[in-house]
């Protein structure tokens, strides 16, 4: 996707913040992304993306495949460095942090990778325990209890001793979820947490997202193509399209929007890219 020549403004993107703020009390701004731009070679993947999220909010990030959702999340976690733009997360300016501060920040942020990224040289139990063990603040008994709890939450109480390559795709996904959750992060990015899962498990995972949010008041950004199942979980949606934010708002806002692309997304789920 080449950078768009015309800088036409998109009239569909206004956020109706009052509607969101009315629905439930939200805390401080915890993620503020401004003018985020990223190129791979001469391809512009993100072109001036803005996003603001408040504490306790669950936002669904949707968009066609290959639009740059995963890249967006990696930028927000500091795994990639943007070509332009600002990222403030949990009150820190991500791009201005030194190594130590970034490390510190990352213990407060969780990320579920789209393609699992489990450590294939350790067992599932060690994978989930790893972030906690590395922090060195808990005893082995505490760690074991927490690992068991997190794995039970994702319906995998009996796989601790297996190696990641002995699991199915959907099981790996859920282990990744348990691992990202183990340190009780304040902010969690879920990159397609239900890809490759059966409908029942998908619903369970989305319930887990909701429950995590409710119990710990953590803030969640959920990428998914499964708008039907996101509905009970997400407070609001952001539609990335053609390297930009095409729409932000609730489902009602989407239905009221006059943008055919927004309609298409919310009515029929996914559309392929033209």
């Amino acid at each position: 996707m080449k950078r768009r020549e015309s800088q036409e403004t998109v009239p569909y993107g206004e956020i109706d913040t009052t509607a969101i703020l009315d629905r439930k009390p939200l805390g401080d701004v915890v993620l503020e992304v401004h003018g985020l731009t990223h190129w791979f070679g001469d391809v512009c993947v993100l072109d001036g993306v803005d996003l603001t999220m408040r504490e306790g909010e669950v936002v669904g990030l949707i968009g066609p495949g290959g639009v740059g959702k995963s890249v967006f999340v990696k930028l927000c976690c500091g795994l990639l460095v943007p070509d332009a733009g600002e990222i403030h997360i949990l009150g820190k300016d991500l791009l201005a942090l030194d190594d130590k501060e970034r490390q510190e920040l990352r213990t407060r942020v969780g990320l579920v990778f789209q393609n699992y990224a489990l450590f294939d040289f350790m067992t599932v139990g060690d994978n989930v325990a790893f972030p906690m063990r590395q922090r060195g603040q808990a005893s082995e008994a505490e760690i074991a209890a927490k690992v068991q709890e997190r794995l039970s939450e994702v319906d995998l109480p009996k796989v601790q001793h297996l190696m990641p390559n002995e699991l199915s795709g959907g099981m790996k996904k859920r282990v990744g979820l348990a691992r990202a959750n183990i340190n009780d992060p304040e902010f969690i990015f879920f990159d397609d947490p239900t890809a490759g899962l059966d409908p029942v498990t998908s619903s369970k995972i989305f319930n887990l997202v909701r429950r995590t949010q409710e119990q710990r008041n953590s803030t969640c950004l959920v990428i998914s193509h499964d708008i039907d199942r996101m509905r009970p979980v997400c407070d609001r949606y952001v539609l990335l399209y053609d390297a930009r934010v095409r729409f932000q708002g609730t489902e009602q806002d989407a239905m009221a929007s006059s943008d055919p692309i927004v309609h298409e997304f919310f009515r029929a789920g996914m559309v392929g890219r033209a």
Partner: protein, 255 residues
């Protein structure tokens, strides 16, 4: 014109590689002072690198010692200067052939393995996952590998030296019918301590360069399985070049 462009590209590529390797090395040093690396991982790697490599090192060394003796055997037999046998073999093996051959074996065995491992972790996003979990891959993966490869190549070369001499002694006894005591007498009377330490010095620097080079290629893999294959290939070639450059420098300085 085409030739010029090709030379230019090659030089640029080489400069980029050397620059990248230097950066990895600098980051390793920074993680070691003050020490911030993972101790458990270091022990694990010392074990993995050392225990898995010693059979092949012993075999390489014994053959090397034996070949040195056979090479000089003809001359020694003609002149009857059997005392030279141990000195000649010891000199060549301790200072030069031993460290270089063991280093080359080590780069093919451990260095390539290391690049493949790190490269696979890179393409399957495991390195990103480490970083996302607030763990620096340099502290957790690279420094332990650096330390264990340096220490283990040093120890393996010391071990290899011993077995090279044993191989030489056996060969002189069995094939040249020169008593093994005569052989060892030649070694010890030859005042080869300097050569021995030069050899160990070489081994340590080979270990360091193999580990930095293999980590550099592993961390910079792009593009899936073919990318990993290419990186392993480049790692082995560059490690060999590194070994010869260090060998040249240290030999020059030691003489």
């Amino acid at each position: 014109m085409k030739l010029l462009a090709m030379i230019g590209r090659t030089c640029l590529g080489a400069a980029e590689t050397v620059g990248g390797i230097t950066i990895v090395f600098a980051r390793i040093l920074r993680a070691m002072f003050p020490p911030r690396f993972d101790r458990d991982e270091t022990w694990l790697n010392l074990y993995k690198v050392g225990v898995k490599s010693y059979p092949i090192v012993i075999m390489t060394a014994m053959f090397t010692g034996a070949i040195m003796v056979i090479q000089s055997g003809q001359y020694v037999k003609q002149t009857g200067a059997t005392g030279l046998l141990g000195w000649g073999a010891g000199y060549a093996v301790l200072a030069e052939i031993g460290p270089v051959l063991i280093g080359l074996m080590f780069s093919g065995r451990v260095g390539a393995n290391n690049t493949a491992e790190l490269g696979t972790m890179k393409v399957t996003e495991q390195l990103d996952a480490l970083r996302a979990l607030a763990i620096d891959p340099i502290n957790h993966l690279v420094v332990p590998r650096f330390l264990s490869m340096m220490v283990m190549l040093l120890l393996l070369t010391a071990l290899g030296d011993l077995f090279a001499l044993i191989g030489g002694a056996l060969t002189s006894e069995l094939i040249l019918e020169v008593d093994y005591r005569v052989f060892f007498h030649g070694v010890f009377e030859g005042h080869l301590l300097d050569e021995y330490f030069t050899g160990l010095c070489k081994a340590a620097s080979f270990g360091a360069s193999i580990s930095v080079i293999s980590c550099f290629y592993g961390l910079n893999v792009s593009g899936g399985a073919t990318g990993v294959g290419r990186a392993v290939n480049q790692c082995v070639v560059t490690s060999a070049i590194g070994i010869f450059v260090w060998d040249y420098l240290i030999t020059y300085l030691a003489n």
